[in-house]
Symmetry: C2
Subunit: 345 residues, 2 copies
Amino acid sequence: LLRRLPAILEQHAPAHRYAIITDSNVDHLYARDLAAALGAVPHCTVFTFEAGEASKSRRTWGIITDQMLDAGLGRDSVVLAVGGGVAGDLGGFIASTYLRGVPFVQVPTSLLAMIDSSVGGKTGVDTSRGKNLVGTFYQPTVVIIDASTLKTLTDRHVRAGAAEAVKHAAIADSDYFNWIESNSEAILDRDIDVLLELVIKSVNIKSRVVSDDETEQGKRAILNFGHTVGHALETSSRYDLLHGEAVAIGMIAEAELGVSLGITEESTPATLRSAVAALQLPVKRPSNLSPQVLHETIEFDKKARYGEPRFTLLEQIGRVSQAPDGHWTHRAPEAAIFEAFSHIM
Amino acid sequence: LLRRLPAILEQHAPAHRYAIITDSNVDHLYARDLAAALGAVPHCTVFTFEAGEASKSRRTWGIITDQMLDAGLGRDSVVLAVGGGVAGDLGGFIASTYLRGVPFVQVPTSLLAMIDSSVGGKTGVDTSRGKNLVGTFYQPTVVIIDASTLKTLTDRHVRAGAAEAVKHAAIADSDYFNWIESNSEAILDRDIDVLLELVIKSVNIKSRVVSDDETEQGKRAILNFGHTVGHALETSSRYDLLHGEAVAIGMIAEAELGVSLGITEESTPATLRSAVAALQLPVKRPSNLSPQVLHETIEFDKKARYGEPRFTLLEQIGRVSQAPDGHWTHRAPEAAIFEAFSHIM
């Protein structure tokens, strides 16, 4: 698909000028070639930020916005985010606020971005108070996924991306869950046909959930399975844990939480552990993170979002539990949360 | 209406918590009383910024966002902007990006904000490159206009607000235009019934135009009559000119431009001049602004928006001209632009 990018854009996102937003790794791997194929400056300009979560900030957002203004990009421009989740979230936030919004194209090059963050229209940046606290809902005009870019991804990032596929399966499709576990080796070996099938299956689940609830008023919250604990792990590890790794551990903790609350089938945590381990993902928290720190991080993180910590809980693999109050997330007593932590120690 | 604010919010924008965003002038005039009526912290918290256009910045946006996060406001909060155009634009941008968007209520207290900026969903902040270059389209849940707040407005701000009413009339309704001119004295005397009728007539025009084209892909551009030259005057005066004052002069310049391009009826500039003068608004640019500086500012401003300067031009009072290419704005040769400037010297 990337070889056909100019034609695809011509058809789906024609523009006077293109801005490619990418990070310092993807810049020379893919973005420069894509820019060359699209045409010289001023028709296409590349804006590069330092790779890493630290760039997902209001500061980088302001800097790139100013660079685009200085380059004279008008409202008849299109923003392309080329890269992983950071490029997509940051690029989307820039596109959604640049001159009150210009069209936006996602070109995810990491597995995580392909199956998860590029679909659904969540954009944003982090603040010192937490991840994604500032942002918009802003749908991309088109998402262009070329699985061949997975060749240049590190093994660790392939595994971390696959964690979100496990999540999609866990909340929506037990057959897919079994398929992932039996194809774990092929995924780790980067069998391109298997990866492509993984991407397609996951995007179908994600886009179905998002289409029903674009701005997360209700059922979209089921996509947060593993994420309440996962975010806390990710933040308190200071991003030593990749997002997908943190979600893998978080899913296990939240499955255990569901069991202890009598909501989740008892065999579910073991089934999850087995699938996560088959993908060589961690099943326990880093030893330097205490339960107290994790709990404080959850409290702080969730206070800013919902007023209290809430958890997406499974009934069983493939099915999420709806709380008696109609919500797709549950409250949990502090003791049960700490009990769940004991299973990832 | 302000006395009934708690009941109105209860019905139209119920929330767990309210954030009032206001400036240092309106804070003690209205915002504190409204906050007291809504309930004590944490139910309602006031966030105050220094009055003036300089606060419409990414910096203030970041500071207030962080204050709201620190105050623990979650997604079940509602943002109220109480004040003039700056409070509305800044408050709307905060609301649209806070935790990816929380509901937003406009409580405009200036004439300009009542008849223009509070309706239509444009939010944003300025950058050193120009006004409103960063922002979103984000509709308020409800706009609450209590004309009694106009009592505390300065005469100069009443006049400046009325300039946008002249604009609404000029682009859409010649009867309304005549009504404004014949009621100029009552407007300047702040006859509350006349002001209320002015607000209603203008909001009807504005909301009709915006409803047809929410994100300014096409016909919404007619609301920019007077604004291409007006923005340049406002920016290059370093905001010595109020927005409405700059628009008043800009409308005259753009009417003259339309005449010289053979698009606008020859009597139109004189008719506009007469209405503008009756409201004691300026009809000439400040003497320290040279035509060269104005032209450079237009070039810079518009380059960032559309790639080239474009102008909304009248056919006659009450009717806007559509360009042969289907656009509701026109290009103009440089010589014609300078010729138009000569009429506001």
